[in-house]
């Protein structure tokens, strides 16, 4: 929790999606997206095409997305499947062109200066099948070093350096087919690092790793990639652990719309709800039900017992002042309270609420 608090301070320096910096300042940010939209043609049946031959339906994947990521920041991209995270990454990697809006990476426009963008950015979007499995790790990296324009002895030096960085120095001569999933993930990162990028795009990098390998991989990302290499990292993930452990800020996407940006704690605060845990022997005390009825607290959830005390989670709107009033009222009415403490809102709940709020706004609109 303390780590989160520390990151919260950093987030106050960063820019939310609502207050985008002027594009003249784009060079001060690693990544800037300004009103980016993208849609893809909808696949139709033969019957549908025969009935409506002139119709060209398109499905929006990104809708007017604007955000800015500072140099050296670890930025999380969250949202349900199909939210548009991978399309956004592909757009930044110059693999997909935007229909509208502008995007810059390191100050270079992704449409007009795509080759310059590719020189400062490296995506890790593809999965491990995109490696050459019958080649050794060294040969894989050697190939990409050549494709990145490196020549002569510099290739060997850089490849060995990168293998060392990702902890594969001892297995450089082993063919990739013999690698574990974790090693392949590291090799994918190594492949991206060969050209010394300033910005790294990671799309669910720990999806095929067991919990222990995933934790080790997160440590590697934080200490080596973000820390020593100083890369700006954009991370699309479904993992709460990854977000809480790594990200300075997050953005929540749903149906191609940017719903929120900020640190997880500031997002929870913006939602106007904070969760508290009450440890009591009187979980069914009428005072609690009365508070819900009066709207003083949100939903009450009985979480089970700890040492004979029942834990009741409640959502409190109004911050610490309101929390203090609630404790005072409960004690006054004879509820036995052993502990009353703030608990972080689970990330899944937070995303779910933001997405639901976005859906409500869409339906109202």
């Amino acid at each position: 929790m303390s780590g989160l608090a520390a990151r919260d301070d950093a987030s106050s320096l960063s820019v939310s999606g609502d207050s985008l910096p002027p594009l003249s300042d784009a060079k001060n940010f690693a990544v800037v997206l300004d009103g980016i939209s993208k849609s893809f043609p909808v696949r139709r049946t033969w019957g549908d095409m025969a009935r409506h031959p002139m119709l060209r339906p398109r499905a929006p994947v990104l809708q007017n997305v604007s955000l800015a990521v500072s140099e050296g920041e670890f930025f999380g991209l969250l949202g349900p499947n199909g939210a548009g995270k991978t399309t956004m990454f592909k757009m930044l990697a110059t693999l997909v062109l935007p229909d509208a809006g502008t995007a810059t990476v390191g100050g270079f426009d992704v449409v007009g200066e795509s080759s310059k963008v590719r020189s400062v950015l490296a995506p890790v979007i593809a999965d491990e099948r995109s490696l050459y499995w019958r080649l050794t790790a060294f040969q894989n990296l050697e190939l990409f070093a050549k494709l990145q324009g490196m020549r002569g002895a510099a290739i060997r030096t850089r490849v060995n350096e990168v293998l060392h960085v990702v902890g594969l120095a001892d297995t450089g001569e082993k063919i990739v087919a013999a690698f574990s999933s974790g090693m392949k993930q590291r090799l994918l990162i190594a492949r991206a690092l060969v050209a010394q990028p300033r910005v790294l795009l990671l799309d669910e990098p720990t999806r095929s790793l067991d919990p222990i390998s995933a934790r080790a991989f997160r440590t590697f990302l934080r200490d080596e990639i973000s820390g020593r290499q100083g890369c700006t990292v954009l991370l699309a993930t479904h993992s709460a652990d990854e977000v809480l452990e790594l990200c300075n800020r997050v953005a929540v996407l749903d149906h191609g719309r940017l719903l929120a940006t900020g640190s997880t704690t500031s997002l929870a605060r913006d939602l106007g709800e904070e969760r508290y845990a009450l440890f009591t022997r009187d979980a069914n005390h009428p005072a609690l039900a009365a508070m819900v009825q009066r709207g003083v607290v949100g939903t009450l959830t009985v979480r089970g017992e700890e040492d004979g005390w029942t834990r009741v989670d409640m959502e409190v709107v109004g911050g610490m002042e309101r929390a203090a009033q609630i404790v005072a009222t409960l004690v006054e009415q004879g509820v036995v309270v052993a502990r009353f403490e703030k608990v972080p809102l689970p990330l899944a709940d937070l995303i779910d609420r933001i997405v639901r709020r976005g859906a409500e706004e869409r339906s109202n609109a």
Binding site: K90, A93, T94, L95, S115, R118, S119, A122, P123, I125, A126, D127, R129, S130, Y132, R134, L135, Q139, L143, F144, K146, L147, Q148, G149, R151, I175, R191, A195
Partner: protein
Amino acid sequence: MREALALVQASWRTQRSYRVSMVLSILSLGVTVLPVYFVSKALQPYAAESIANQASNYFGFLVVGFIALIFVSTTVGSIPDAVGSGIGTGTLEALLSTRASIPSLLAGMATASCGARSRRYSFSSSQ
């Protein structure tokens, strides 16, 4: 050009790593050529007249025909084959994310695919 060569080298290394398959494909060339040689020799008296305007030796005529057939089919299919497999495995995206130009990537992928396809073709034609 260097980028294209790098892709060809990677493909050659990949092909070479399938050692049994590599040896079999080389052996299969001989296995294919031998019966063609004897059959063409047997048919030489009958075929000589009909190919008189193109060649005097029926075996040479057949070999050139086979090579042309393999060359055309692998050339025509190499780019779609390379792009299709690149899309399927995700290699294409990885390659397109590098600084290499698209023409040099396509040239390298197509040449590499040509090599792989002709090896596969020579192996399958002997079966």
